[in-house]
Structures are given as C-alpha cells and as structure tokens.
C-alpha cells in the first residue's frame, strides 16, 4: 500500500490479505495518520501489517520478491514528486515485481465517466504499460479507480458480478476496449519522465483559480 493517509485502505485490505506493507515516505505523515485520522481502526497492533518509511520507487525497485497487489493510496499527480508515481517508468517497476495475476490499483483522480484530463491521463498511462486494464467508477461520480496487470485472469463481466454481489450496484466497469472507445478522439500522451506537463498545468490552474477568479 503506497501512501498512508488515514490508513483506511489498509483497514479495508487487511481482512483479505496475508500481509499488508504500507510504504510512506514521510514518518511524520504516518504518525499523524495513525494518531489523528485512523478513527480507532489503527493497524499498529495488527501482526499482518508493517510499515516501511521509504520512497515507493526506491522500495519497489529494491524488493527481492514479488507481490500480489500494489495499491496506490496517494494524492493526484499535482506535484513533481507525487507525479513520478503515476509515470510509465514507475508502472514498469511495479510490473516487474507483480506476481502473475497480480494487480496494480490506482486512484483515477476524478470521475472517469466525464473524461476529465487527469483521470484520462492516468488511465492512458496504464494502457500504455499494462495489457489488462479496468476502470471502475461509481454511479455518483465521486469514485473512479483503475486496476491493471499483465495477466489479471478475470474479465469485465466477472468483475461486475463480483462487485454487485458485494452490494455495489451502481458501479460501471470499463475494460480496455471500452476505455479506448471512451477516450477516442482525445490526444493524450502518457505520463512519463518525457512528459510531465500535468504538474505545470495543475499549478497554473490553481494559481488562476486563486488569483483570477471569474
């Protein structure tokens, strides 16, 4: 689990996992999350959980084994350091350390159904790196996330069935073909070290919103 925040994602993952490792770059953020945000669901005493204070790129590149799931629980690619965790280069690193059938889960940062720029960029980057990609969105438009892998071993129908069985009736699932159709006509270059203008655009947008309100 890359990033810590409120550790809610860890709490969600623990019941189904053999072990969860949180990778957090900043020890103060992790300590604050445990103390103030975990709402009593702190994983501190959970034997199946551990935390590594490290940059995710460095941690994953130096993993000796492989893992079943890598989940990014991080902010959007709006700062250089965070944006590096949405690049093709980082996804390639993850791909090398996923077991066959392993899953990368990435927040799409926006309602993918409305094709916002950041979500489209993230999903396009995943498409350029992984053969299997699904995007899952909620009907209320507030949640979108993507799953990717080299051989996921399940299809859209199975994923939908499983999510509906868990009570998530309003989900919409896009597979690779759906995504390509959905983004047709938009020229999007995947995020990589050779293309990180999203950071600059977001910064300019933020400044414009702050100082030049319409």
């Amino acid at each position: 689990m890359v990033g810590s925040g409120s550790f809610e994602a860890v709490a969600q993952a623990l019941p189904a996992a053999r072990h969860v490792t949180s990778v957090e770059i900043d020890p103060v953020v992790a300590a604050a999350g445990l103390r103030y945000l975990s709402g009593g669901r702190t994983p501190e005493h959970e034997p199946k959980w551990s935390i590594e204070i490290d940059d995710a790129k460095h941690y994953i590149a130096n993993l000796t084994g492989s893992v079943d799931v890598v989940a990014l629980d991080i902010a959007g690619p709006f700062q250089r350091q965070v944006a590096l965790l949405y690049t093709q280069e980082f996804y390639e690193l993850i791909k090398r350390h996923l077991r066959p059938g392993g899953i990368l889960s990435v927040p799409a940062n926006g309602d993918f159904q409305k094709r916002p720029e950041t979500a489209s960029l993230i999903v396009t980057t995943l498409l350029s790196t992984f053969p299997d990609v699904f995007v899952v969105t909620r009907g209320n438009g507030r949640t979108s996330f993507a799953m990717a892998g080299t051989t996921l071993g399940f299809g859209k129908a199975e994923l939908l069935k499983r999510m509906k069985a868990e009570g998530r009736e309003d989900v919409v699932v896009y597979d690779r073909q759906d995504i390509q159709r959905h983004l047709q006509g938009r020229l999007i270059r995947p995020l990589s070290l050779a293309n990180m203008d999203v950071v600059l655009k977001q910064g300019v947008d933020r400044l414009r919103r702050k100082f030049f309100k319409a």
Partner: protein, 168 residues
Amino acid sequence: MNAAVFFAAGFCFAVLQFCFFFLLESQLSSAWNSYAAVTLAWMAGILIGLMVSFETSRMRRAIWLVNLPCYYGVWLGLRAWPFDARALPLYALLVAGSGLFAGHFFRASFAQTKNARSLLLHENNGFVLGLLAGLLGFAANGRLFLLLAPALSFVLLFIFARLARCSL
C-alpha cells in the same frame, strides 16, 4: 567584467542544481536524504571553492573542466545503478565537485570586479531564470532536459566568459 557572465553563471548553477535534484528524485529516491545530500554537498563544494585560491591558469582550467563530468558522472551512475542508495555518497562527492566550480566562480569574479553588489544581482537574476527554465524543461521533456540542459547552460557560460575575456 560583463554582467552577462554573472547572469549566465546564475542560470547555469540553477539548471545544474535543479537537474541534480530531479535526477536523484526520479532515479533514486524523493526522500529527504536525496535533497539533504545534494544541498549539503553543493554548499560544501561552494565553501571549498570560496576558500581555496586556484592561482595558476592550469588549476583554473581544471576547475572548469571538472564541472560537467561531475554532473554526467551522477547521470551515468544513476543509469547504471538506478535506485541503489549505496552510491549516494559518491553522488554527493560529485555534486560537491560541481559546487566547487560555483565557489571558485564567486571568488574569482569578486577578485576581478570588487563589486559584490553587481555580481550577486546579476547572478541571482540568472539563477531565478534558471529555476524557471528547470520547471518548464522538466514539464516539457524531463528526460531530454536532464541530458542536455546542464551542458548547454555551461557552454553558454563558457561563451560569455570568453567574449568578456575574463580569466576565471
């Protein structure tokens, strides 16, 4: 001495620093120790460059010649051993080598002009522009920027210094 030389020097130092930071955060780690290593090593290099007098022209030439190889040493090291933190002390040493040139530049420039005000004003303006160029360059094509920008900015500084006939 030409104000353009100071300006070009500031630009070159900003581009170099930006590239060191971006190289390490993209190919090694964005953790605090990468930034601390670059900052401390650069400052140590500057201090040494300020304190040591490179009196002969051969020594001064050597200082000029060592600058870019230090940067490309880090660049090559990170390509050869990406995400290997064991090489961080070596990178810090190379960053200090680049900083040494910056320290020497300030010492030699002040010795020639005796005008710290003008030196720092123009160098600082160049530095701000260099930071801006770094931001734009990494956004447009970070990979290419890391490869070319330090060399180009250094060549620019070299040309201005030659045109101004300053014996740095």
